[in-house]
């Protein structure tokens, strides 16, 4: 028996691959998907919720997806960039892509007061779509004939007297938008903590904010000048940070 204990001890020394058991903080990054800043998209069944743009165009949503990337937390004295942070949020075919948010570990202990992130995928990551995880090209968010990611997609219908389809596929490096926010309250990272940051996405702000895009006239946007307008709009008003719970 003594022998076996010695052997076991040797094994642990030799192998040296047991993991640390100290509990680390796990931050959840969650995004609520709304059509107008308050009403959840709830893309389920045939009865879709009707939303109205700031210019009065009525629309429904079938798919709404967007990349949030390069998340950075900071305070007065320091900052921490979350490595390889590419998160696909939104609804696809009625399914919430990240029902429980993204789990993020490895953040240094501290109190953070600001968050910055981008809508889209940075130029370096956008140069190849042979990627894993949320950047996997099988997420229907990659172009295969023009390498790169769709940063934001919104598909649905408009109902302004006539009915027609909406297809907004916005990508390309010029439409990558860096945003920065003060957190509504302090984020505290310490051992064992499980804080949560909730973002709020407002789909209709793709159509307004900087310049208006009217549904009917501009219902299909897949590049070109209107994509740039849509991107300026989504940079200005699509995302908010709604709350921090420690």
């Amino acid at each position: 028996m003594k022998n076996y204990i010695a052997i076991l001890a040797t094994v642990f020394v030799l192998c040296n691959c047991s993991k640390e058991v100290k509990p680390k903080a796990v931050l959840t990054l969650f995004s609520e998907n709304t059509g107008d800043g308050t009403t959840d998209l709830h893309i389920h069944g045939s009865e879709k919720h009707k939303f109205v743009t700031l210019k009065g165009d009525t629309f429904t949503v079938d798919n709404f997806k967007y990349y949030i990337s390069n998340v950075k937390l900071s305070n007065e004295t320091s900052s921490y960039s979350i490595p390889d942070s590419y998160y696909l949020f939104g609804y696809e075919d009625g399914d919430n892509l990240r029902e429980s948010g993204a789990s993020i570990t490895g953040i240094p202990d501290g109190e953070y007061t600001k968050i910055s992130f981008s809508i889209g995928v940075d130029g370096a990551a956008n140069a190849s779509t042979a990627k894993k995880g949320d950047l996997d090209p099988n997420n229907n968010m990659a172009w295969n004939w023009d390498t790169g990611y769709k940063f934001v997609t919104l598909e649905g219908n408009f109902l302004n007297g006539t009915v027609g389809g909406i297809t907004y596929h916005i990508g390309k490096n010029e439409n990558y938008k860096e945003l920065s926010f003060d957190l509504p309250s302090k984020l505290i990272i310490q051992d064992g903590a499980t804080p949560k940051i909730t973002l709020l996405a407002n789909a209709r702000m793709i159509f307004s904010g900087v310049s208006d895009l009217r549904l009917g006239a501009t219902s299909v946007v897949m590049g070109g000048p209107n994509a740039i307008i849509a991107a300026n709009n989504y940079a200005a008003g699509m995302m908010k940070v709604s709350k921090v719970v420690n």
């Binding site: 022998n3 052997i7 076991l8 040797t10 094994v11 030799l14 192998c15 691959c17 047991s18 140069a127 190849s128 779509t129 042979a130 990627k131 894993k132 996997d136 090209p137 099988n138 990659a142 295969n144 004939w145 023009d146 390498t147 790169g148 590049g223 070109g224």
Partner: protein, 345 residues
């Protein structure tokens, strides 16, 4: 004691996870005028097992939705991996004609953009287009992963190449790209000339053809790859206003949104040119005589026409014969017969 050592070993394996056999690094030499080594991206280093896996996938119709179409359905090694003389291929799953001419596959490692408009920025990303296009492989990527996972051989092959990772879109594209990058053509008579700087290797007609080539063709079909890998409007059309099919008829404008790129397509290499008919991005010219006729008499002027084609090119009948004779020296017979690029049947 022996037993104890065995026990320790088993425990170690159990506690540290399975030991993985590493694939074999492959760094082939290429001629100095090609840069000496085969370029590869830092994120997808070439290994012998990776090439072999990519080759197996390239020839395997499991990569299409109906399990009947492989890359090799359109890319034939005996034709420098171009198609068999068809203007436009219809060998895909739908049987519909494609819009563009099947390009040959060689010296891809040096290219900076793939497809006739350079839309794909690396070989790895390029792979997804033919795989997913409804008129080519029509293959959903998630479904392909399931097929490969359930296959008798693929799971083991992927595990070896990719460090025991699960089969993914990324790993599939990496394997394809490693094989495609390994297709290097540099053993033509012309290469012999480049290596030895000895023009006696050519017949007198071929020598004259080289001079005609240098005068009229080499500005775009640049030494040593015989392409500048850039995009030009070579005057085959006048207008580029057809926006259908995701602007596939508008040239590189489709990718850059820059009107200066309307009607521009990538310069194809003249290497193996006698094997890669028909010619042009849409395969509109069946023969080299059609191509010569175009460049001498049929240049269509538009805003984006290449500068080099604004001055009329004249080719005598003797020049044409000489050019064709020179083109014969560009065929790489070793490349098209190289058994390492093919699979046993």
């Amino acid at each position: 004691m022996k037993k104890s050592i065995q026990f320790i070993f088993i425990l170690c394996v159990w506690s540290c996870g399975q030991e993985i056999e590493k694939p074999t690094t492959f760094k082939p030499k290429v001629p100095s005028y090609f840069g000496g080594i085969l370029p590869e991206p830092s994120y997808n280093k070439t290994t012998l097992e990776g090439i072999a896996l990519g080759k197996k996938l390239f020839f395997d119709p499991i990569t299409s939705s109906n399990n009947l179409v492989s890359c090799a359905s359109c890319h034939h090694q005996n034709l420098a991996f171009s198609d068999d003389g068809k203007k436009i291929s219809n060998a895909g799953v739908s049987g519909k004609n494609l819009h563009r001419n099947t390009p040959p596959l060689f010296n891809l490692a040096w290219q900076t953009g793939y497809f006739w408009d350079g839309g794909a920025k690396d070989l790895e990303s390029q792979v997804f287009a033919p795989l997913q296009h409804p008129d080519e492989h029509n293959q959903d990527l998630k479904a392909l992963i399931v097929k490969l996972q359930n296959h008798a051989e693929y799971p083991k092959l992927f595990a070896k190449v990719f460090n025991n990772e699960p089969i993914s879109s990324q790993n599939i594209s990496y394997a394809f790209a490693q094989y495609e990058r390994s297709l290097v053509s540099y053993k033509s008579i012309y290469d012999n000339f480049l290596q030895k700087k000895d023009s006696t290797i050519f017949t007198s007609t071929q020598k004259k053809g080289l001079l005609v080539f240098e005068l009229h063709c080499e500005k775009c079909h640049k030494y040593p790859f015989l392409t500048d890998f850039l995009y030009h409007n070579n005057g085959i059309d006048t207008t580029f206003t057809d926006e259908s099919d995701e602007r596939v008829f508008m040239g590189r404008f489709r990718i850059t949104n820059d009107s200066a790129d309307l009607g521009k397509y990538k310069t194809p290499s003249l290497r193996n040119i006698l094997l890669t008919a028909p010619y042009m991005h849409d395969g509109r010219f069946a023969t080299l005589d059609d191509v010569f006729l175009h460049y001498t008499n049929q240049i269509k002027v538009s805003k984006t026409l290449d500068e080099n084609l604004k001055t009329k090119i004249t080719l005598s009948e003797v020049d044409k014969i000489a050019l064709k004779a020179f083109f014969e020296t560009l065929t790489d017979y070793e490349f098209i017969k190289n058994p390492t690029y093919s699979i046993e049947k």
